[in-house]
Symmetry: C2
């Protein structure tokens, strides 16, 4: 992605946070992570993030999804005998989120995803999160999520985050951003 | 504290969350923890809490302070060879917080505390947190905090919470609530 595009998406994200009355410092707003997962199709696929704190014990982030944007399927694998992989709790703060995890597939899921991405979405147990609702994803469990028509903001409470260890179902994905 | 008082304080706390646009589920609102630390002086000393998640790896809470209410001085001691004690990140979401930790004492601290409690407040390095600002308190470090004239709401991202292990400077304090 080009830096000018990243800056425009940061401003768009910051506007959503303002609308939801979630306050960021100017430094945080200027450094919002725009994750396009290397696919350069942010209107459909991607995630916007502010990492408040990430230590060797816990992590806290604010996640933002543009309307109908989805975060592609991935899991957090075991990293050592003492670390079964990242565990995370998603708490919806604003908007609506359709979260998919391993289990009985929803007969009529609410997510709408372009056909070209569907082959890499293999789990379809549906959890709908509205403001104040939350769900905890166990380690090493495939999951993906999309926002509803208004977009969504989600607080993530989790164990340590090491994005470079995430495993994506879609082999075309590159997690760490490349800015031209 | 009497149950009827607890219920009234829960409703008052829920009203602050509504004002700050932080959504709780009905169950969360009905179970807000009203911590008077056994001193039955909640207008001055205490804390209101919603624990979103507390696992053996991480914890997430929303803390609320009524105007000028303070949370008494305490620390989170080491619990084992692998656990140096709870580490916590306070992020101010609404209002203003005066946080005090070990270090150079502030010459003119903003906190105002009734005289009878001052002998148990021994650390006076001041950190002022406004919305969007945050501070991480290392394990085993004495700290206490008061809200400003409007009250305050703080998101806490932390390692596992075990309130029963907290050590308070004031020997009169009982952390776990007793409801008559």
């Amino acid at each position: 992605m080009k830096l000018e595009d990243v800056k425009a998406y940061r401003e768009r994200t910051a506007e959503f946070f303002r609308m939801a009355n979630i306050v960021l410092t100017p430094e945080e707003s200027e450094n919002i992570e725009i994750a396009d997962f290397g696919l350069d199709d942010l209107e459909h696929l991607g995630l916007e993030l502010v990492t408040y704190i990430n230590t060797d014990r816990y992590c806290g982030k604010e996640l933002m999804l543009f309307p109908r944007q989805f975060c592609p399927e991935h899991h957090h694998p075991p990293l050592s005998a003492d670390n079964p992989g990242k565990r995370e709790t998603f708490r919806c703060r604003w908007g609506e989120v359709y979260l998919y995890v391993e289990g009985d597939p929803a007969p009529n899921p609410k997510a709408r995803v372009p056909d070209k991405y569907r082959q890499y979405l293999t789990v379809w147990k549906e959890i709908i999160l509205r403001p104040g609702e939350q769900y905890t994803i166990p380690p090493n469990t495939k999951h993906w999520f999309q926002s509803g028509d208004e977009g969504a903001i989600v607080s993530e409470f989790s164990s340590t985050s090491t994005d470079e260890n995430d495993i994506f179902t879609d082999p075309n994905i590159v997690r760490l951003p490349v800015i031209e």
